[in-house]
């Protein structure tokens, strides 16, 4: 197949939003998102005990600090949670639900199985596990679950990858009726990229472990650019990474600085998704 044809077919699955008016004339919508995967991904990759303990920090300590941080700024976040975390950290999950944050899907055990029946099984198990804490089924996911399946199960949005700066609609390849909203996140606004050694299997010479002041400057610049453009920012935090005291302090300064500007809409992903779906509904099926 010609590259132009591939590009054309790929683009046809996307419907971009060129501009959007946020509620109350806000200049920017900010989604603070938390991937509460703790040690699950490390377990899945068969990483050694110390790596598991590094992830465990997120469940024992980090998630609690993030909850305190959000409460101190009176903002609601979206906590993308693997189903199995509900069996590891039930007390933290109760606290997340009690604080009124959105609880969304982050796969059953941090993977999407290739077998369709098992994929559905994992999605339903996770939805049921999260529902026991949230009192309602999740409407969003950070995963590569099949959109047709997600749509059948009542999901409104995904939050993965970054084919556009603003939220956009995307459908599965060759599957009518699979269009879902995507709330983009970018790896450059993801704490693990700057703080987590051996992230995603990276080798020693590829380590990018950095410091909070540098990350603060980058993320503030990203926020300012989108604020001026009337845009959107999705900040990705992992409790085992951002839950460390020096990084909580950095996020505290960053959120406080964002709040010095007028018209910053801190919202859950669900709130942003519902607004987008109502304001700019998809024309794709």
């Amino acid at each position: 197949m010609e590259l132009s044809e591939i590009a054309q077919r790929h683009d046809a699955r996307h419907q971009f939003i060129s501009s959007i008016a946020w509620p109350n004339d806000a200049h920017i919508a900010v989604n603070l998102t938390v991937d509460f995967d703790a040690m699950l991904l490390r377990r899945l990759l068969n990483e050694p005990p110390m790596q598991l303990a590094k992830g465990e920090f997120g469940g024992r300590v980090g998630i609690w600090r993030l909850l305190e941080l959000f409460q101190s700024h009176n903002v609601k976040a979206t906590i993308f949670t693997p189903g199995r975390i509900c069996e590891l950290y039930p007390q933290a999950m109760h606290a997340v639900a009690h604080a009124g944050h959105e609880i969304a899907d982050h796969m059953w055990e941090h993977r999407v199985p290739n077998e369709p029946d098992l994929e559905q099984d994992h999605l339903l198990k996770t939805a049921a596990a999260l529902e026991r804490f949230a009192g309602r089924r999740p409407v969003g996911t950070r995963s590569s679950h099949t959109r047709a399946l997600l749509k059948r199960e009542g999901f409104l949005y995904t939050s993965e990858d970054s084919a556009s700066q603003l939220p956009y609609y995307v459908s599965d390849d060759n599957t009518a009726g699979s269009t879902l909203l995507n709330l983009p996140f970018h790896y450059a606004i993801d704490d693990a990229m700057f703080y987590s050694f051996a992230w995603l299997g990276s080798g020693n010479a590829a380590q990018r472990i950095s410091d909070p002041e540098r990350v603060f400057d980058m993320w503030w610049a990203a926020f300012r650019q989108q604020y001026n453009a009337g845009g959107y920012l999705n900040v990705v935090m992992h409790p085992f990474v951002s839950g460390r005291a020096l990084r909580i302090a950095m996020m505290d300064r960053l959120i406080a600085r964002m709040k010095t500007l007028p018209g910053v809409w801190f919202a859950t992903c669900e709130d942003v998704a519902r607004h987008c779906l109502a304001a700019v509904p998809p024309s794709l099926a």
């Binding site: 377990r43 005990p49 024992r60 069996e87 590891l88 051996a198 410091d211 909070p212 540098r214 460390r244």
Partner: protein
């Protein structure tokens, strides 16, 4: 049903800031670990490692400079010492103890034990204890398995038996745990609540990952990032009333501008009132008495289940 076995090493929730109290009303605990290992990789200290210019610098100029900075700021440190290198330092280890520092064990050669049989690991552990006791004149209370520069992960390596063997051998603490930023209990058997007191470690406060990492010549020099991480963590933990820890290598931090950066940072740290700077052993003893596992290790009944077609 194993208690979250293979996933977690401790209880479900760590202690909050409000739970924490340090001796004499102090506000923040400061732990300094000095790693005397010069092992590059999983084999532990090799002949090539010990004869390298960096190792030579470490045991002469580097250590001398580092000790003079620690002395200037009246800081006590815990030295993690592989048994194989202890004879190289000999009486200098006893002198460190006389200066108020602690000598802790770091394996036979600071090798990776993760694939050893239980018996082989136990034999090496006993030999390590014996050699260090002999040279230092007292039995080590602490055990470290700090990361080496060539390790694929930056947390240090242990085997599934290590914690249990350390408990059997009577060690008071394990020196580098990652599941908290304060002392915590590493549970080796949930049914009997058998647990090892563990002191916190985190690679963002370990000099070796910022100083020509992963190797001289081609690695990256990020001393500015290291200093910002130390200051950021110290400020945040001081504010919370928790614990700040740093891990130093004489071959790295003893050099030139890096040493000056350490000196400047420690001057800043020392300008803050209410610091408690114990050795690892003193910190562990205080913790065990103040926060004993009988009352402070909260092992909730597991709701962890085995699901068909899931990882158990």
């Amino acid at each position: 049903m194993p208690w979250k076995n293979g996933y977690t090493i401790s209880d479900e929730i760590g202690l909050t800031d409000a739970d924490l109290h340090w001796p004499d009303g102090n506000r923040c605990c400061v732990l300094v670990t000095v790693d005397l290992s010069v092992a590059a990789g999983s084999a532990g200290i090799t002949e090539k490692d010990i004869a390298s210019p960096a190792a030579t610098f470490a045991r002469h100029d580097g250590l001398t400079q580092l000790l003079s900075v620690l002395r200037r700021h009246a800081l006590q440190a815990t030295f993690a010492v592989p048994a194989a290198i202890a004879p190289v330092y000999g009486n200098r280890l006893r002198a460190l103890i006389e200066d108020g520092h602690e000598i802790a064990a770091e394996g036979l050669r600071h090798e990776d034990v993760s694939t050893l049989s239980r018996d082989e690991e136990q034999a090496r552990l006993q030999q390590t204890t014996h050699v260090l006791t002999d040279i230092v004149g007292q039995r080590p209370a602490g055990w470290f398995s700090l990361p080496r520069q060539e390790d694929p992960f930056a947390g240090g390596t242990i085997s599934p038996h290590t914690i249990d063997l350390l408990l059997e051998a009577g060690y008071a603490y394990f020196g580098n745990g990652l599941a908290d930023d304060i002392p915590h209990y590493w549970v080796s058997d949930f049914a009997s609540r058998r647990a090892m007191l563990t002191l916190p470690y985190y690679y963002h406060f370990d000099d070796q990952f910022f100083l020509l990492f992963p190797r001289k010549g081609t690695g990256l020099e990020n001393i500015d990032m290291l200093l910002r991480n130390w200051k950021g963590e110290f400020d945040a933990q001081y504010q919370r009333g928790r614990l700040f820890h740093m891990t130093l290598h004489p071959q790295g931090i003893g050099w030139c501008d890096r040493l000056q950066g350490l000196d400047d940072f420690l001057g800043y740290l020392r300008s803050m009132p209410g610091l408690w700077n114990p050795t690892g052993a003193a910190c562990a003893a205080y913790w065990r008495e103040t926060y004993p596992p009988e009352t402070h290790l909260k092992l909730e009944p597991a709701i962890w289940q085995d699901h068909p077609r899931s990882l158990s």
